[in-house]
């Protein structure tokens, strides 16, 4: 039982990071029909941007700020203007393939210009332990979980309680009608890309101290986020959140109680079951597009 609590906390902490990435993944799909197969590499890159700033002599806090700003510029604005806009007019599939190429390009570029070896990355959550129900629980796990949940709550509030959020929802549901009623659709789509860039930068900040900064670290994250978005429901923020948390917990439990070798297979089996019996995902709605 005590072991189960450890596994749940660790699984939820990792799952919360998956959720951030999955939410961004889902937002891009909903507003611009972009299936971003480079989403994992989008999580990998901000850590290296921050490390580059630190290597230039900046303190960690400044590296975080500059890293997030550079992410917004490169992974938000640059991604939309230089890749998505020119490719989307040729259809969803060419764009999806282009993002696969982008993923390879990003990995190779980081390997070339930084290193093929892993690098250490500082944690924003201090090391230490707290006692919960008589069990020693890592402060880092709790900190990661709390921060990720706070961001998700903030994002949900933005989407559901603000005018901008409603305009984004209108853009996702029917861009033509949204345009007629005066919603600045293009600006809303750009905002979605910027939100995704912010989410991946945050996920990078939280996960890299654990996974280490490495050019290939996005592979696992991209796959986990993709599965989480589909399992949770590809058309709902809450679905992507639930999917992320579920995949994090399932991954940890399967590693502990099934086997390490098959841990990667269990989320995929879950994905297949969901596609067969509930194609809209656990919390998704059939044929509805909303953020």
């Amino acid at each position: 039982m005590s072991n189960l609590l450890d596994l749940l906390v660790a699984g939820l902490a990792t799952g919360a990071i998956y959720a951030l990435v999955a939410v961004g993944f889902m937002l891009l799909w909903q507003t611009s029909q972009t299936i971003n197969f480079a989403q994992g590499e989008f999580v990998m890159l901000p850590a290296f941007l921050m490390l580059a700033v630190m290597h230039a002599g900046a303190p960690f806090w400044l590296a975080i700020i500059l890293g997030i700003l550079l992410s917004l510029l490169l992974l938000g604005l640059g991604f939309k203007l230089l890749l998505v806009d020119p490719m989307l007019r040729h259809g969803v599939l060419p764009l999806a393939i282009a993002t696969m190429a982008l993923a390879i390009g990003m990995k190779e570029a980081v390997k070339q210009f930084f290193s093929a070896e892993a690098s250490p990355f500082p944690s924003i959550v201090p090391a230490g332990d707290v006692s919960i129900l008589g069990r020693v629980v890592s402060l880092q796990s709790l900190g990661v979980l709390a921060l990720a949940i706070a961001v998700v709550i903030g994002l949900t509030a933005l989407l559901n309680r603000t005018s901008v959020g409603h305009q984004m929802q209108a853009t996702a549901q029917n861009p033509t009608v949204a345009r007629i009623i005066g919603v600045p659709v293009e600006r809303m789509i750009l905002l979605t890309f910027l939100i995704n860039a912010f989410l991946v930068a945050l996920a990078s900040l939280l996960i890299t101290p654990i996974y280490l900064a490495k050019f290939s670290s996005g592979e696992i994250l991209g796959q986990a986020a993709f599965i989480a978005a589909i399992v949770g429901g590809f058309n709902q923020v809450r679905g992507a959140i639930a999917g992320g948390l579920l995949i994090g917990v399932v991954d940890n439990l399967s590693a502990a109680y099934v086997s390490t070798q098959y841990r990667a297979a269990v989320p995929l089996i879950l994905l297949i079951v969901i596609i067969l019996f509930r194609p809209q995902g656990l919390l998704g709605r059939p044929e509805e597009r909303t953020v």
């Binding site: 892993a118 690098s119 590693a255």
Partner: protein, 378 residues
């Protein structure tokens, strides 16, 4: 008159060819893990090789000929390693260097043996030199040499009665796990948890939870460098306080750099360390840091030693003869007094295994501290 002219021409051509061959560079081929999970291993190994070659060439080369090496990336993938080794052998190198991963060595060793080319590699799996391959040579201890020392230390010094074993599910990890399990049985040490992990694994939370549940007296960690660092961080995160013991891959320089404070207290047996209390190794470390601006791990030493193994053997033969190289290295003892590049006295047996002094180290304040020097056996 005419036939005399042709005879003279032929003689001149043959002489020129012989002179060209005499001065032509000696070609070496290196296939290593320059990217992928073993990038730390491969890049240290490569840099050690380049440093040694630079030194030897600066002093006039080997038997008057320059050394030249080509580097190929196995991407830490045995399949790619095999293809790269085949390609390297097609260029007929004097000696093949690498790979560092045991799994890659296992699939490439038959190719080098078939070509009759000696292969000096970094793999440590026990089985590599047990199959009768006469062309394969280690640069460090095999698991059959190192694991008994680790088990003895856990029994005698740590007084552990139960140990959790964490190993990576590849040839290196399985080999180490099998040998250490047998050694533990000799001391009646119980294996409290037997945890296999995957190469390149990023998340060790579940594995550490299993260790926590098993409550062992000590943990033996036998995974590759990057995974060791992630494991150490997770062990600290989950407040595991029992002694952590391992081999070179747990207490290497790169692990310490990646794991930070979490590496403190980890102990291990290392065949090679740049923190060894040996003057020649200290000098090597200085030269390496000056050239590459970082402290190498044991793989940097291995690469460096591989080149000096070639130098010592070739000088003993007095000629560059790829086919005779392996025969001459078997049974050879190279003294550091006569060949300083070999750093410590070393003997190669008939299987290609080595006998050399080793060290038991502990990480204290982010640095390897040598606790015991284990002497050369013969």
């Amino acid at each position: 008159m005419r036939s005399g002219f042709f005879a003279g021409f032929l003689l001149a051509t043959v002489s020129a060819a012989a002179a060209f061959a005499q001065g032509a560079p000696i070609k070496l081929a290196n296939v290593a893990e320059l990217s992928g999970g073993g990038a730390t291993v491969g890049n240290n190994w490569k840099n050690g090789i380049d440093l040694a070659i630079e030194e030897i060439n600066a002093k006039g080369g080997l038997l008057g000929r320059k050394l030249e090496v080509t580097h190929a990336d196995s991407q830490s993938n045995p399949g790619v390693a095999r293809a790269q080794v085949q390609k390297a052998l097609d260029s007929e190198p004097y000696v093949l260097l690498g790979p560092g991963y045991s799994g890659s060595v296992k699939v490439t060793a038959p190719l080098a043996a078939e070509a009759g080319i000696a292969q000096i590699m970094g793999g440590e799996a026990a089985e590599l030199t047990q199959g009768g391959n006469k062309f394969l040579f280690r640069t460090s201890f095999g698991q059959q040499s190192s694991m008994p020392k680790v088990a003895k230390y856990i029994n005698d010094e740590l007084k552990a009665k139960s140990v959790a074993i964490v190993w990576v599910n590849n040839d290196f990890g399985k080999g180490g796990r099998d040998v250490i399990t047998k050694e533990f049985a000799k001391y009646n040490i119980k294996v409290a948890a037997d945890i296999s992990t995957e190469a390149g694994q990023a998340d060790f939370a579940a594995d550490v939870s299993k260790i926590k549940a098993a409550a062992p007296d000590a943990v033996f960690v036998y995974v590759n460098e990057e995974e060791s660092a992630r494991m150490l961080k997770e062990l600290k995160r989950q407040a595991i306080t029992v002694p952590l013991m391992g081999e070179t891959t747990l207490v290497g320089q790169k692990v310490v750099e990646l794991a930070g404070d979490a590496a403190n207290g980890a102990r291990g047996h290392v065949g090679l360390t740049t923190d060894a209390p040996v003057d020649l190794i200290k000098a090597f470390r200085e030269k390496f840091v000056k050239k590459y601006n970082y402290v190498p791990d044991h793989n940097g030493l291995k690469g460096y030693l591989a080149i000096y193994m070639i130098k010592a053997t070739t000088e003993k033969m007095g000629k560059v003869d790829a086919k005779a190289f392996a025969d001459n290295l078997h049974g050879l003892t190279i003294k550091a007094a006569s060949e300083p590049g070999i750093l410590m006295d070393v003997t190669f047996d008939e299987k290609g295994d080595i006998d050399r002094q080793g060290f038991l180290v502990e990480i204290v304040d982010g640095k390897q501290v040598v606790k015991q020097v284990l002497p050369k056996l013969n």
